[in-house]
Symmetry: C2
Subunit: 210 residues, 2 copies
Amino acid sequence: MSKTVSQPMLRRLPNYLMLLRKYHDTGIAFCSSSRIAEDLGLSSIQVRKDLQTVSDTPGVPNQGRDVKRLIDDLEGFLGYNDFSQAVLVGVGRLGSALLSYEGFREYNMKIVLAFDTRAHTPEMQSGVPIYHVNKLRQLVTRLHVQIGIIVTPSKSAQGVCDALVDSGVKAIWNFAPVHLSVPEDVIVYNENMAESLAFLSSKLRNKEEK
Amino acid sequence: MSKTVSQPMLRRLPNYLMLLRKYHDTGIAFCSSSRIAEDLGLSSIQVRKDLQTVSDTPGVPNQGRDVKRLIDDLEGFLGYNDFSQAVLVGVGRLGSALLSYEGFREYNMKIVLAFDTRAHTPEMQSGVPIYHVNKLRQLVTRLHVQIGIIVTPSKSAQGVCDALVDSGVKAIWNFAPVHLSVPEDVIVYNENMAESLAFLSSKLRNKEEK
DNA sequence: TAGATTGTTAATCGATTAACAATC
DNA sequence: TAGATTGTTAATCGATTAACAATC
């Protein structure tokens, strides 16, 4: 099938999956779009549209959709059937938090390796081995990891990024507040904590002014 | 002026501000939209549009815009003139990382207070006092804080959210992977770490299929 | 003056929402 | 059958991009 999917929709999909798993665990076999919509705070029309794009199995009028089948379709669509592996660079506070973050498992994501300039002898943290950054190219190349997470200080970010790309990484999740230059075929997703908070605060102000 | 601004634009604004401050520090007094665009990886047309919305001072043809003035306008627009204060609930790994995150200062954001169920005697972390959650209503109400950050386990999130809203909080930054129910006048911004990573991974897969 | 860069107006693009017929 | 819920097609909404005249 492989339709092209909009970014916002792609962000909603994992949430459907999580909710549907919850339904499944509570023994709910069928559910309507409007129910999902309510639980997720979306419009039912949007949910219907999204699920149609993702699943070939049509929904049943007056009954809704088969929860189990929908889970399978979503997992297939999102490519969760095999584990997605990632490496993390920069084991500071935020890096450590990500290493120990439980939520990744739920999305079949796993950080398999971490690097830091301070790690001299290989050590473990939250079950993930941490190596010195000078091992990065060697190890990442060997393991064929495709996703890199950059949690380094801004000034090291571009260098780390280059090393990751050289080692075959095709997608980068960047927490450093800088714009990274990458080849065209590499995807960068920027996460800026401070920006998010500032964004929220301005939204608040905008609202107050009205 | 107080124009309505689109969400994606509102997210770009803090980045302009950061870049312009960097220019200012290096003694650059004027800059063109195309330069900003290049440094930030955006299109120059978009930058021009954005800056027009934010600043009443027109740009000068063949010269660009006054960096200092633009900084002032952006700060004014984003409401950075007075500090924005936030409280954080849930001092786990991620919560701690946020408490110690340096980047907030740059956006004039400050976490002034934190709460956790494990904090029995008030303690300090990264310069922020941590109280037991049962002090939440009392302290947040008294300090008139408007922004709450929820970094608790999912099952506590809605309860904490209700308490924050009761105490006058008008904007919530939610890291728990659940949908929060709030009154209409309260803004919720959801941040889901796992979702972001999963999103990146599916994007990668979609690309590979092509 | 010539060239760069601006602001404005219109065109395009893409996502969400609405309306409604189809069906278990 | 009646009612709920579906899928499809069209309308709306909103953001980005393009084109171009204006100007220091």
